[in-house]
Subunit: 348 residues, 2 copies
Amino acid sequence: MRHAVILAGGSGTRLWPASRRDRPKQLLPIANGDEPMIAGVVSIAREVADRVIVVTAETLVEATLAAVPNVEVITEPVGRNTAAAIGLAGALIAGRDDHATLIVLPADQHVRDRAAMTAALAACLSAVERDDVIALVGIPPVRPETGFGYLKVETWGRRHVPMPVERFVEKPDLDTARAYLACGGYLWNAGIFCLTARRLLAELDEHLPLTASGVRQIAHDNGLIVDPRSIYEKLPSISFDNGVMEKTDRVVVVPAAAGWNDVGSWAAIREVRGAGEDGNTTTGPTIVLDGSGNVVLSDDDTLIAVVGLSDVVVVKSGDAVLVMQRNEAQRVREVVEALKSRGLARYL
Amino acid sequence: MRHAVILAGGSGTRLWPASRRDRPKQLLPIANGDEPMIAGVVSIAREVADRVIVVTAETLVEATLAAVPNVEVITEPVGRNTAAAIGLAGALIAGRDDHATLIVLPADQHVRDRAAMTAALAACLSAVERDDVIALVGIPPVRPETGFGYLKVETWGRRHVPMPVERFVEKPDLDTARAYLACGGYLWNAGIFCLTARRLLAELDEHLPLTASGVRQIAHDNGLIVDPRSIYEKLPSISFDNGVMEKTDRVVVVPAAAGWNDVGSWAAIREVRGAGEDGNTTTGPTIVLDGSGNVVLSDDDTLIAVVGLSDVVVVKSGDAVLVMQRNEAQRVREVVEALKSRGLARYL
């Protein structure tokens, strides 16, 4: 059977003040009207998988099930990055389905063209079930993005043909990202991939043996003999990319120009939502006079009026308001640090 | 007796979103901590007057008495500008005190140096009671302000000596305001002045006879025979400056460098409150990173975070947030117009 494994343990702060400790990005209605981001990912998963499993933190189970009621949930006892989370899901799924295929999807991404994504995933699944590879979806870059990892390939075409990945590339600086964009031999690594549960456990055995034995023990014991938390919290905290993908030679990639966006900052909201006639991206009661390129978002009846300013972000969410230049949207992290250091962590 | 007449009928919108229809500027705690502006004016009035009377609109009586509990209130049936309001107060006061002297003070101003203001008012009162003049307090200008009227004098000194006013000057353009500031022969007209109630009524008889007869009729009838509203609403809507001051030859002025500020825009908040070590003027929970010259005000527990922006105004008040350049603070009026024209008048 095909099992979608949706990774929803994150608690990102880059969309503060909308994203908070108890309401991470994947639960926000950022992209499609009132739909939480994870609901869009679940829709894609249902197209290609027989079952949908969400891996999330204990503290987020209730909110996650409120957002996507008809999924199974695997709880991470603590956060230990993606290798452990994927390994845990793989071991649990393998325990009940000896021939499971996994489709791994981050929960906090937006895909504009869902048909293109499901077609790419279908191509990935065919390759996985035919050749026992690890098949990634790669996104043809549309801007010199410095916030993502890249996949180096020979060259990418438009058809859903798996091709070998020459190497994984860490987040580049701007000049390098521009060169990647120009040369045409690089794809964004969206963290979306398929592989069999057996292949997953075999790769973990080879490259992350502590993770492999830990998640197997949790899955086999099923909570009866050992305390899963005590095992899980000892697992190495490493990403699946770093721990497995970059070390194995079984990785292929299927390009998919699917309008993928990780909505990693308030600036990205503009790409996902577009702008109105006056050039501004707004939600809720807003007035923008003599300004364009602004992202002005109110999460309730609070009116936001912006006068004579362009290319700024003004976000009112809950008990906080953020005002910044749009092209400096990554500086939200500085706000988060300042809130911690100034005794204002209650706003996180 | 000396009667302070505090004009508190205004419903200015220049401090929106703090100032609203039901909470005009004089009721806001803008300048001194939690003290409404009118309370500061009442404090000055008590220093120089035997009684304090506040003239305000029917809709504002309750809120006004909450802000300044121990005053008498005269209610304007409708708003008819300052000539009618002052005339009504003068007629009512003259009806019970044949030898009343009036000290007229706008309610929505901030005076940093109250001792300097009371000394100037004492000099005005002496002149009024000795020479039956109309004695204004004039403020030595400290910037080329285009938002005030000016008083042309020979030249002004620092001592509290009344001097003749050569003429009243309407709000100038910036070049003219700069020339006024440079030449030293101009004072700001703060709308603060003293005169006897008899002189007031005599001047109204001469220059605004309809106003004179109307307010006399209301004062004499005391509501028994006529409907005061039906009389008052027929009075000409004209300022006391335009209707009387500019036409009589009895005006003198006492200069007072009293740190006077009409707090006519959010930019002025900076002058009144000063700035912190980081160069920002803030109230409530705020974080400003990498920016100075900002005015960042939150009226409750809502956190405001401003990153990488300087010289902007961010005001959260009630159910609205305003974001604008500080040097364009007068554009709040455009917001108010837009709220009316876009069906958002509930935010006014």
